[in-house]
């Protein structure tokens, strides 16, 4: 594994902690009734989307899914736009047309996420196809969940990407539950990455709670794609530490499983790693935490003061004129 610089490791901490702190705030806002509808977070899984997004270059593209808050942030969606989005305000990423992270912003290389999990895998193959047709050295990262790999679009995209050797890297957040359905009812294989074998795509299973593993595996796969060697599949094993959404108490998840995974918290462990290995001082980390806190306060205030769209704005933008 190539050496990761101290600066990069410090930056990664910022994004990881920002993701955790923003989503903790999202949960509070939801419980306060300020976020309507639902709220889905990536608590305990943040390393995956921060890792795969941070390893990309600026011109690359992401096709994220709904537990990828970290990727949205790393690509440049500001906390202000995030909170305004969650609160349904005009200043949100979609101006109120959509909620949560159901957003895209091509100026930041983000393709919007459809709720139909894995719809974005085929879309990602098309993004990669355009790069290949135009001879561009760009790559695209797409993400889905373990449950999403059971859908036909998963199969169709993996197959097409492999046939045409497209520069796409497929990620899977394997958090062991698709809503309430455990993996054993989802597939009869041990690792999701085994699915890749059928397509002639290298599949890898990594510790999704170890940010540096995710970052390094992503870097390697992106390089392979840029070198014209085709797609890769990376399964990031993790655990969903809460319900499917804020309104799901997740009583179906055994307590012992959660206890076990609590020890593997990606944010706390990374913090420990940085300080114990004396890579970054705890003072420096505290400084970053402080900065995050104030950014979030400012963003929430901005969002709450932002106007709602008008009802009739719903009629705008069905077609591009």
């Amino acid at each position: 594994m190539a050496e990761i610089s101290k600066d990069v490791m410090t930056d990664i901490y910022y994004w990881l902690k920002l993701t955790r702190t923003i989503e903790d705030r999202v949960t509070i806002l939801y419980r306060q009734g300020k976020i309507q509808g639902g709220a889905w977070t990536s608590h305990g899984m943040e390393a995956i989307s921060v890792g795969y997004a941070f390893a990309l270059d600026k011109d690359d593209i992401i096709c994220p899914y709904f537990r990828d808050m970290g990727a949205f942030l790393v690509r440049g969606v500001t906390p202000k736009r995030i909170f305004a989005q969650y609160l349904g305000r005009k200043t949100g990423v979609t101006g109120g047309k959509e909620g949560n992270v159901h957003v895209g912003d091509l100026s930041l290389g983000i393709i919007g996420f459809p709720s139909h999990l894995t719809d974005n895998y085929p879309v990602a193959t098309g993004v990669a196809l355009s790069f290949k047709m135009r001879g561009e050295k760009r790559v695209v990262a797409a993400c889905t969940g373990d449950g999403g790999t059971s859908r036909g679009d998963f199969h169709e995209a993996m197959n097409f990407a492999s046939v045409r050797k497209l520069p796409v890297v497929f990620f899977c957040n394997n958090n062991q539950y698709a809503y309430s359905t455990p993996l054993r009812f989802q597939m009869a294989i041990k690792d999701v990455s085994q699915r890749a074998i059928a397509y002639g795509i290298p599949g890898e299973t990594i510790d999704g709670n170890d940010i540096l593993s995710v970052y390094s595996a992503a870097k390697r796969a992106y390089q392979r794609a840029r070198d014209g060697e085709g797609p890769s599949f990376i399964e990031c094993k993790t655990m969903r530490m809460h319900g499917h959404s804020e309104f799901d108490a997740a009583k179906y998840v055994p307590k012992e499983l959660l206890e076990e995974w609590k020890k593997k918290d990606p944010v706390i462990n990374y913090e420990k790693y940085l300080t114990e290995k004396k890579i970054v001082t705890s003072e420096k980390l505290a400084e970053i935490d402080k900065r995050i806190k104030s950014e979030i306060e400012e963003a929430v205030e901005f969002a709450e003061k932002s106007p709602y769209p008008e009802g009739k704005d719903a009629l705008e933008g069905v077609y591009k004129v």
Partner: protein, 324 residues
Amino acid sequence: MKEISYIEAISEALMEEMERDKNVFILGEDVGVYGGAFRVTEGFYEKFGEWRVLDTPLSESGFTGAAIGAALMGMRPVVEMQFADFISCAFDQIVNVAAKNYYRWGGATPIVIRAPFGGNVHGGSFHSQCPEAWFFHCPGLKIVAPSMPYDAKGLLKAAIRDDNPVIYLEHKYLYRRIKENIPEDDFIVPIGKADIKREGRDITIITYGAMVHTALEAAKLLEEKGIDMEVLDLRTLLPLDKEAIFSSVKKTNKAMILHEATKTGGIGAEVASIISEEMFDYLDGPIIRITAPDTPVPYSPPMEEFYIPKVSDVIKAAEKLAAY
């Protein structure tokens, strides 16, 4: 001017657009080496190569999704569904991804989905369907269905240049049966504009696709019976050209709708509704729908002949309406 067939018009439009804009490319099943199941893209593979004429795996959802991704990156993909019937496999990508990208998050998605549709070719229930109503209910899509070579060429060019997803329904019965003299210069037929294919004073028949020809034949026979029928070819189904529909009904005060698709929840139901909502005062009689019955498309010739609306059905309906 030169005479070309309906299928040649489609091929020419594709060829000219691919020559004009290097971002235009074709993907689908058997479109490359083989030249397409109906030979629309014959010779394209040789001319443009395997990266602009892509033979795809058998995966309608997968390659429609791929077209969407490429479109988001500035390409102009034209997807070929081998038969319109198979478009159902890509339904989710079309109605949830392509149709909503722009509204949800500003991602303009300029894809064209060509779909050979319609019956009268003894294709049975999976090679004869008219799927337009499935998509008609989906804001964000455009749907066109030409009846003549001029419209086929001009609408396909317009669809490729449009910044929105367009479903292009080409009637396979017309491919080699219909010819027309068309200009040799570059032209488009604007999406959203209907066309009067025959002027008339007594009744308006609103139709599209292969049924335009059924209506025209009926109009000729009705003339002998003293009924002057106007044939309005919608050409674009979504968005509907309300203005053209209303102005024709204002003139004739009598409206019929003719389509090959089944009746319930079809395009005709919508056209009848908007006429009734907005043109009620101008109507001298009921709005009549002539359509296929609510069944799958049957295979055996006597059943298929019974199923698809015929000239005699139009004449019967016109005589009934003319009596008001």
